[in-house]
């Protein structure tokens, strides 16, 4: 038995903390257009490299280049910009409303707008997203009424969830948006089960699942990969790597693997890594992965590389754990700016039209907000009745709940 030196615990730490000057020049960012686009039926083994690179379409000048370009028409791209602008304006209004005490809680998407907005455009009616709290763009891009979203935020009498859920925990079956859980990751395996159900029935609908970088450590993530791999389920497994999970940096969840996309390799699942701040790249990857699912070729894992520019939620102040300037120097830029530049380069847009659109959208959002607030806000008292608290626990109210409701006076 040879003597070995004492062991020591290695705890991963982010490179930069408050007070440090962050520097992302070490991050390798492949040139736009440099990553090949395999056929959707290519075996997973042959495309291992796609999990260790970043698929990008928009170059620094705003041109769309390479194999993954051209998945959208000009009109669709313009609509994409509008979706992202709407989400950002909606977010900022709701953050303010929360600070004004009109509701208890809010979570914004700042910097991550491209991902949910672009992905939704690759889906068909009937497909189902299993989102986290940071994909409201799926609703916006699918035309869900902003006013109804606000009614949920305000927990007012028109909230379709009857004030029962925390703000941002939307649900809309019609818009392919599964009811959000406050428990992280649980939806990931449910999406796989939902897609298996479609396959069992011989239907054509597919499921799309969503999870954050930090939440990939949860057990449900593993269950989802096991089941998706074993049953070749028609599902797209998205990981939104926004670099942070509240105060912990992505390295803590990622550990020794270089990327989250790499997780798919343990299961033989084709895995892409995509520039999450590039609307066109996200859409192209979504189209590729959804086509695989629709053709019964099985699951795809997509890591969307982005940066959470805002706080985790309205309760969080990120300056306590990371340098303030990090989001500004984030090397993948801002998704709205990048798509705007692309449209301008194409001659389809201008700074003026952008300002004008921004003002129009702001007006529209304010209009919606006025209507929603006129119905009620959490602090206005116009919230659903306590009577409603006893509904929907079961399809039919059992005797003990009838008694309890009676006790409250109904």
């Amino acid at each position: 038995m040879t003597e070995t030196p004492p062991l020591s615990l290695k705890v991963p730490q982010p490179e930069f903390r408050p007070g440090d000057t962050p520097d992302f020049s070490g991050i390798e960012i492949p040139a736009a257009g440099s990553v090949r686009r395999p056929d959707v039926d290519e075996p997973a083994d042959g495309m291992r490299d796609l999990a260790f690179t970043i698929i990008r379409v928009l170059d620094d000048q705003g041109n769309a280049v390479g194999d993954w370009a051209d998945s959208l028409s000009d009109d669709e791209i313009a609509r994409g910009l509008r979706d992202m602008m709407t989400l950002r304006i909606y977010d900022s209004r709701m953050m303010t409303a929360q600070r004004q005490g009109k509701t208890s809680f809010y979570m914004q998407h700042l910097g991550e707008e491209a991902i949910s907005c672009a992905f939704q455009r690759a889906l068909h009616k009937g497909d189902m997203n299993f989102p986290t709290y940071r994909q409201a763009g799926l609703l916006i891009a699918s035309g869900y009424p902003l006013e109804t979203m606000m009614c949920q935020i305000f927990s007012n009498e028109a909230d379709p969830l009857h004030g029962r859920q925390l703000p941002v925990m939307y649900s809309s079956k019609d818009h392919g948006f599964f009811t959000i859980s406050g428990n992280l990751a649980t939806q990931y395996i449910q999406a796989v089960g939902w897609s298996m159900a479609s396959a069992i029935k011989g239907d054509t609908k597919i499921a799309v699942s969503w999870i954050g970088d930090g939440s990939t450590s949860e057990s449900d993530f593993h269950a989802a990969l096991v089941f998706a791999s074993t049953y070749t389920a028609p599902v797209v497994l998205n990981v939104v790597n926004n670099q942070w999970a509240i105060s912990t940096f992505q390295g803590l969840a990622r550990g020794g693997s270089h990327t989250f996309a790499a997780r798919g390799h343990g299961f033989g699942i084709p895995s892409l890594r995509v520039d999450g701040n590039d609307y066109l790249a996200v859409h192209a990857a979504a189209k590729w992965a959804t086509e695989r699912a629709r053709r019964n070729l099985g699951p795809t894992l997509i890591e969307h590389v982005t940066y959470r520019a805002g706080g985790h939620s309205s309760s969080d102040d990120p300056s306590a754990y990371r340098p303030k300037s990090e989001s500004e120097i984030w090397p993948l830029g801002d998704p709205i700016d990048r798509l705007k530049t692309h449209l301008i380069v194409k001659g389809l847009w201008s700074e003026d039209r952008h300002k004008q659109a921004s003002a129009e959208i702001t007006d529209m959002v304010i209009e919606c907000q006025k209507r929603a607030e006129s119905i009620g806000t959490l602090n206005s008292g116009h919230v659903p009745s306590p009577r409603d608290m006893f509904e929907d626990v079961y399809a039919e109210m059992p005797p003990h709940l009838v008694r309890q409701r009676h006790d409250v006076g109904y």
């Binding site: 599964f178 428990n183 298996m196 059992p398």
Partner: protein, 355 residues
């Protein structure tokens, strides 16, 4: 085949039908079969349930009959099995899932509690979870602490769940079919010691089969026993024993052994609870023993005792007495000292009569 009246949706109709003798296993297998035949949305899966038909054989033959898209083996992940089931139920299927032993439900507990039970509520009724999670429960089979547990109280504390425990083949089938028809998630606990025969707790006496037991006579067609209705397993006047599962048989044996004329209430469904039947019995007898195999503290017996003392306060001649498994893990060699058998129950019945 013996003849018997058909029990349909709880009400007893008058025409005679053919009954088949079944064990609890074949009754459960038959319930699956009948449900799958009449509703193509019923799908069945779990560990070893597909080709092999389950380690207790409760799903035997289903894959062969309905194909591997409707009855299939699952990876060993209770979380995955229930979580996938939640997704399937949200899609519109009716998953009937087997967790191999109730002791192994813990990895799936989050999906059951935070997801299945909460889906309808949190989505304002938009998404629902009509799913049945079956699991063999209870001891008496030398299974030690990880094949003997009775975790029903961990489900009864969860709003949004229903919890069912049958005590005989006829109920098992009718309750399982009602659970499958139910629009909400149901946890269906099967006392594994009763699978092959009734068990009165005298472990050193010869094993009895269901063959020739009247409740082993089962209608081979579709019928439901509505959730939330208890049964009076034995009428009596001296005291009430409120119980369920294996203990229904033990309670009856203890009544015979002591000569105390106990009324034995078989709850069948814990949530929703048939309080009417329970309270009527206790108000009649004035004395109540609550009996279960699960660990005493915070067991479902606590809820029963709390409700009974509240509803029957002025009728009770003695405090409600709980007899249950000890507050220890379920031991292997000391199984029969742990199991609340007829001697322990009888001793407590006498104590209750003297109180």
């Amino acid at each position: 085949m013996p003849k018997c009246r058909r029990i349909l949706f709880g009400s007893v109709t008058t025409w005679d039908i053919d009954m088949t003798q079944m064990t609890m296993i074949t009754a459960i297998q038959n319930a699956h079969d009948v449900a799958m035949a009449r509703d193509e949305n019923v799908v069945v899966f779990g560990e070893d349930v597909g080709y092999f038909g389950g380690v207790f054989r409760c799903t035997a033959g289903l894959q062969q009959k309905y194909g591997s898209a409707r009855c299939f083996d699952a990876p060993i992940s209770e979380l995955g099995i229930v979580g996938a089931g939640v997704g399937m139920a949200a899609y519109g299927l009716k998953p009937v899932i087997e967790v191999q032993f109730a002791d192994y439900m813990y990895p799936a507990y989050d999906q059951i509690v935070s997801e299945a039970a909460r889906m309808r509520y949190r989505s304002g009724g938009e998404f629902t979870c009509p799913m049945v999670v079956r699991m063999p429960t209870g001891g008496g089979i030398w299974g030690g602490q990880t094949h003997s547990q009775s975790p029903e109280a961990l489900f009864t504390h969860v709003s949004g769940l229903k919890t069912v425990i049958p005590s005989n083949p006829r109920d098992a089938k009718g309750l399982l079919l009602a659970a499958i028809a139910d629009p909400d998630p149901v946890v269906f606990l099967e006392p594994k010691r009763l699978y092959n025969g009734p068990f009165d707790g005298y472990h050193d006496r010869p094993v009895q089969p269901w063959k020739k037991h009247p409740l082993g006579e089962v209608d081979p067609d579709y019928y439901e026993i509505p959730l939330g209705t208890a049964a009076v397993a034995r009428e009596g006047r001296d005291l009430s024993i409120v119980t369920y599962g294996t203990m229904v048989h033990v309670a009856q044996a203890a009544a015979e052994a002591t000569g105390i004329d106990a009324e034995v209430i078989d709850l069948r469904t814990l949530i929703p609870l048939d309080t009417e039947t329970v309270m009527a019995s206790v108000q009649k007898t004035g004395r109540c023993l609550v009996l279960h195999e699960a660990t005493l503290t915070s067991g479902f017996g606590a809820e029963l005792a709390a409700q009974i003392q509240s509803e029957c306060f002025y009728h009770l001649e003695a405090p409600v007495l709980r007899v249950a498994g000890w507050d220890t893990p379920y031991p292997h060699a000391q199984e029969w000292a742990y199991f609340p058998g007829p001697d322990r129950v009888g001793r407590n019945m006498k104590k209750l009569m003297e109180a």
